[in-house]
Every structure is written in structure tokens, then in C-alpha cells.
């Protein structure tokens, strides 16, 4: 390794292995909790849109109940959620620490936010399109998949970008309670041992991840926007 790099980031150079492990842990958390949150958020978002008073299948109790639960979880700060969900994490995943233990709070922290985002994205679909689909004999599922979801793909990708980026922030926080990952790496070395170069390198790595997500999303949007 060139000398100037060793001088610049001495504390990172001697634990590159650990950096790779942290990066991998972050990806695991991001991937698994991301996929779960994406699916659940999509389901809840669709549910909110479909059951609203002027929706395709109005259902006040479901709409209201779901809205209340979402608002409740959105209003809990994530650090508190991390602590509060420890019993549930143990129940679901068998552990409350490590990457696995972080999954449950990550999902709980992301789903409410993403559901609202999906709701916004889907409400951008012109009601006229739904009416046209109904006039062509589309039922509930046809309207959900062929109109609501299909016609809002660019918006859905945009809100997925936003949510994944905020999920990266959450994984870093989960690191604080022993979830591992880049956040944990930066806190343990950068903050607690005063190795600031570790903090900066971590920031840089996260920046690259964010940029990749943005780029990937923008490419898909470009392909789907007409």
C-alpha cells in the first residue's frame, strides 16, 4: 500500500478486514430488511389507497386503523424503537443483538415511512385511468397491478431511493446497539477511540453507496418515464 495512504488513514489501513466485514453487514441489513420493508410497505400503501373513501374498495375501519398504526410507529424515534423492540426481536429472530437482531427494528422503522411514501406515489395516478380500466372490465387486482403499480413505477422508484437512503441511516444507528455494520465500525473506532480517519472513511463509503442507489434508481426511472 502506498505510503501516503498509510499516513492519511493509518487506523483504517490496519483494519481493512474489519471494514470489509462491516460493509458486508451493512449490505445484509440493507438487503434483507429492505426487501421485507419494500414488500410490506407496498402492501400497506396499496391498502391505504384502495380503502380510502373514494378508492376502488372503500373501507373506513381498515383505512383508519392502518393509518393510525402507521402514524404511531412513525412518531417513535428510532433509537427508542431499537430498545423497545428487543423482546419482539428475541421472539422473532431468537436474538436481539448483531445483524440479525437489528432486522426487526429496521423493518418497524422503515415500513411506516415507506407505506406513506407509496401512498403518495400511488395517489399521483390519475383517477381517470382507474375509471377507464374499470370501464374495460378490470377488477380490483387488475386495477392494483395493471394501473396503480404499473403507472406509478417512476414515482415508486423515487420513493424507494429515498427510503433506502434513510434505511442506511437507520442501519448505522442499529450499529449502536451492537448491530454491526458501518455505523458500528465508525462508532467503535472513530468515536470511542478517537480515530477520526475511520469516521471519514466510513462516511466516504456510505456516500458511495448512496450515490450508487441514486444512480441505479435514476437509470430505471429514465427507462420507465415517457
Amino acid at each position: 500500500m502506498p505510503d501516503f495512504i498509510i499516513q492519511l488513514i493509518p487506523n483504517v489501513v490496519n483494519k481493512t478486514d474489519e471494514l470489509w466485514v462491516s460493509l458486508w453487514q451493512t449490505f445484509v441489513m440493507l438487503g434483507i430488511s429492505g426487501i421485507i420493508s419494500f414488500s410490506l410497505g407496498l402492501v400497506f400503501g396499496v391498502c391505504l389507497i384502495v380503502t380510502k373513501a373514494d378508492g376502488v374498495m372503500p373501507n373506513f375501519p381498515v383505512h383508519r386503523g392502518l393509518g393510525l398504526v402507521i402514524n404511531l410507529f412513525r412518531s417513535i424515534p428510532f433509537v427508542i424503537l431499537l430498545a423497545a423492540l428487543i423482546p419482539l426481536s428475541r421472539l422473532v429472530t431468537g436474538t436481539a443483538i448483531g445483524t440479525t437482531g437489528a432486522m426487526v427494528p429496521l423493518v418497524f422503522g422503515t415500513v411506516p415511512f415507506f407505506s406513506r411514501q407509496v401512498e403518495t406515489a400511488l395517489s399521483s395516478v390519475d383517477v381517470g385511468l382507474i375509471e377507464a380500466a374499470q370501464s374495460m372490465g378490470c377488477g380490483l387486482w387488475g386495477i392494483i397491478f395493471r394501473v396503480l403499480l404499473k403507472e406509478s413505477i417512476p414515482q415508486l422508484i423515487r420513493v424507494t431511493q429515498i427510503t433506502s437512503i434513510s434505511l442506511i441511516g437507520l442501519t448505522a444507528m442499529a450499529g449502536a446497539i451492537g448491530g454491526g455494520g458501518l455505523g458500528d465500525f465508525a462508532i467503535r473506532y472513530g468515536h470511542q477511540r478517537g480515530q477520526t480517519d475511520v469516521t471519514y472513511v466510513t462516511v466516504l463509503v456510505i456516500l458511495v453507496i448512496v450515490a450508487l442507489i441514486q444512480h441505479l434508481g435514476n437509470q430505471i426511472i429514465k427507462k420507465n418515464n415517457h
Binding site: A132, S135, G137, R146
Partner: protein, 345 residues
């Protein structure tokens, strides 16, 4: 083909019961182009949505299309029945993420039709609406008239017997409106398609409808053969529509706003003659001036073709002895000319 029986649609808005459609009954025969005209808020859009049950009318209303009472069908049966009824909209409602071809294929999917057949059908329809070279364009790349053509092709994809047009030309300029109306007319002839047209534009109804119903605040105020309704309108709303479409009503405005423009001397009478008969071929004005030695100074004259038959009239000042003027008016009335006295000196 379509029987609407006692259609009512009421809904609550801010704790007030709104009667959007109030006991409307209409019979539309096969192959007819039926116009439903009314000012905005008259309930015409609600009424047309009751035909394919996009809006479910109140209990007691019956919607019978092609012999089937739609109000009695289950959800699944209703969705199947809707494929008998195509619909086009004011704002076209094309799917922006799909190409023109995919928009037309949309209603053909999930019906057990092979992919090749779907594409072939869609292409044939796009040729019918004269858009076969735009199959791979997206709706955002089309003009308003082209979008409506795609919407028509899409509505016809599953071979409906009925086409509902909800203000289909209201977002288009006059020339494009004409193109779309011509297309609808030819589809009516070629395919024997029954067409229901909702509009607030008298010009549209006049041009293509054979029958018309006039809606006013949810109530059906007049309906019938278009020539009869418009040559002899009975309800004030119908008169307003006829007046709006005719130059002969200009004189009312002039009389109201600038009465000084029309100066009558003693013995003169300002009259409006409207022709009610289909065959007005006699030179009526010449004959009255000869028969009754009158002079008629013509201010306006107008002729409109309604469903192919002329309708129109003349506004002018009659000058002569009182006796002769009244004799002439009697004579004209016998010839089925409606005579209105607008101003008497």
C-alpha cells in the same frame, strides 16, 4: 339496446342530499347516435356512468343493456358485461407508461387471447382510426385528437355493442372535434355501433345525433327526435341551447343591450320567423310581400343543418298596413312558420 328506467342517483355532500340524476328514463335503440346535452352540473356525466355502472344508481333504478339488467349482476358478471360497453373520456385517460399499441392491447389481455392475435386486433383497430404508423409512440407524443383516436381504438378492442362518449370532444379544438365526430359517424355506420354522446356543445349534437335528451339539474326536461326537439323546443333550457347555436338569437341581445340600433317607425313590426318544416322551399318572404303588399327588411337570416335537415329562420322588419301585416302572419303560420313579434312600434 339501452333502457334506462327511473334512474336516480343521490349522494350526500356536506350533509346535504344532492339529486344528481332524478328519475330519468331513456330508451336508446340499436345503431342510434343518442345525444345527452345539458349545462355543466346537469348530471350528464353521472347519468352516462350509470349506463356501465361506474356509478351505481339508487335502488329502484334499472339499467338494461342488450337485454341484461346490469343492476342485478354480481361483480364478476358486471365486469364481463362491461366489455359490451366501450367508453371514451374528455381527458382520454390513456395509460402514459404504455405505447399506443399496448394501450389498445390493454383490454384484450387476460382474456385467453394469444399474444399474436392481441397485436393483430390492436393493429387493425389502429388502422381503422388512421393511426397505424404511431403504434410505438407514447401518449405524451400525440396530439389531443390522436389521443382520442387511440382511446376509441382501445374502447372498440373487445368489440362492444355500445360506445359511451363522455364529453369526448370538449378538450379538442373545433377542427379536431369535427374529425372525431366524423370518425364516430363512420364507426356507427360501419360497425352498427350504438353511440351515446354526452356533451354541453350544441354543435356536436346537431352534427351527429339522431335523437337527443336535454338534462337540467338531474331532470330530463325534453327528449325526442333531434329535428323535432330543436325546431320546436318546448323547455326553456332547450331553447337556450337552440338559441346559443343560432344567429337568430343575436337580435335578442341587440334589443336588450342596444335597443336604439333598431328604430321602428309607426306601422313597422320586428319579427322573427323560424321554419319548423323540413321542406322549406317556398320563397315565403317574396310571396308575402307580393300577396300582402308588404316590405320586409331582413336583418338576419340563418340556416342550420340538423341531422341533415335544414332549420333556420329570418329576423326582419315588416312594413305595411296593420291589417296586411296580421294577414301575412296568419298566412305564414299556416305554412308552419313560427312567427314571434319582437318589437312593435
Amino acid at each position: 339496446m339501452i333502457k334506462l328506467q327511473h334512474i336516480r342517483k343521490t349522494y350526500l355532500k356536506e350533509n346535504q342530499l344532492i339529486h344528481a340524476v332524478n328519475d330519468v328514463s331513456i330508451n336508446i335503440s340499436k345503431g342510434e347516435i343518442f345525444g345527452i346535452i345539458g349545462f355543466s352540473g346537469a348530471g350528464k356525466s353521472t347519468l352516462v356512468r350509470c349506463i356501465n355502472l361506474l356509478e351505481r344508481p339508487d335502488p329502484g333504478s334499472r339499467v338494461i343493456v342488450n337485454g341484461v339488467d346490469l343492476t342485478a349482476l354480481s361483480g364478476r358478471q358486471l365486469r364481463a358485461a362491461r366489455s359490451e360497453i366501450g367508453m371514451i373520456f374528455q381527458h382520454f385517460n390513456l395509460m402514459p407508461s404504455r405505447t399506443v399499441l399496448d394501450n389498445v392491447i390493454f383490454p384484450l389481455k387476460y382474456r385467453g387471447i394469444s399474444k399474436e392475435e392481441q397485436i393483430a386486433t390492436a393493429k387493425k383497430l389502429l388502422e381503422l382510426v388512421d393511426l397505424k404508423d404511431r403504434t410505438s409512440s407514447y401518449p405524451s407524443e400525440l396530439s389531443g385528437g390522436q389521443k382520442q383516436r387511440v382511446a376509441i381504438a382501445r374502447a372498440l378492442a373487445v368489440n362492444p355493442k355500445v360506445l359511451l362518449c363522455d364529453e369526448a370532444t370538449s378538450a379538442l379544438d373545433p377542427q379536431t372535434t369535427q374529425e372525431i365526430l366524423d370518425l364516430l359517424k363512420s364507426l356507427n355506420k360501419k360497425l352498427g355501433l350504438t353511440i351515446v354522446i354526452i356533451t354541453h356543445e350544441m354543435a356536436v349534437v346537431k352534427d351527429i345525433c339522431s335523437k337527443v335528451a336535454i338534462l337540467e339539474r338531474g331532470n330530463l326536461v325534453e327528449q325526442g327526435n333531434i329535428f323535432e326537439v330543436f325546431s320546436n323546443p318546448k323547455h326553456s333550457t332547450t331553447r337556450r341551447f337552440v338559441a346559443a347555436a343560432s344567429n337568430l338569437s343575436k337580435v335578442d341581445q341587440i334589443l336588450k343591450l342596444h335597443p336604439e340600433v333598431i328604430n321602428l317607425t309607426k306601422g313597422q313590426l320586428l319579427v322573427r320567423l323560424s321554419y319548423l318544416d323540413r321542406g322549406v322551399s317556398e320563397p315565403l318572404i317574396s310571396s308575402i310581400s307580393q300577396k300582402f303588399s308588404l316590405v320586409m327588411n331582413i336583418l338576419f337570416a340563418d340556416i342550420e343543418l340538423i341531422n341533415g335537415a335544414p332549420i333556420g329562420g329570418t329576423v326582419g322588419i315588416l312594413d305595411g298596413t296593420q291589417e296586411n301585416i296580421y294577414a301575412a302572419i296568419d298566412y305564414l303560420r299556416k305554412k308552419h312558420v313560427n312567427v314571434e313579434t319582437l318589437k312593435n312600434a
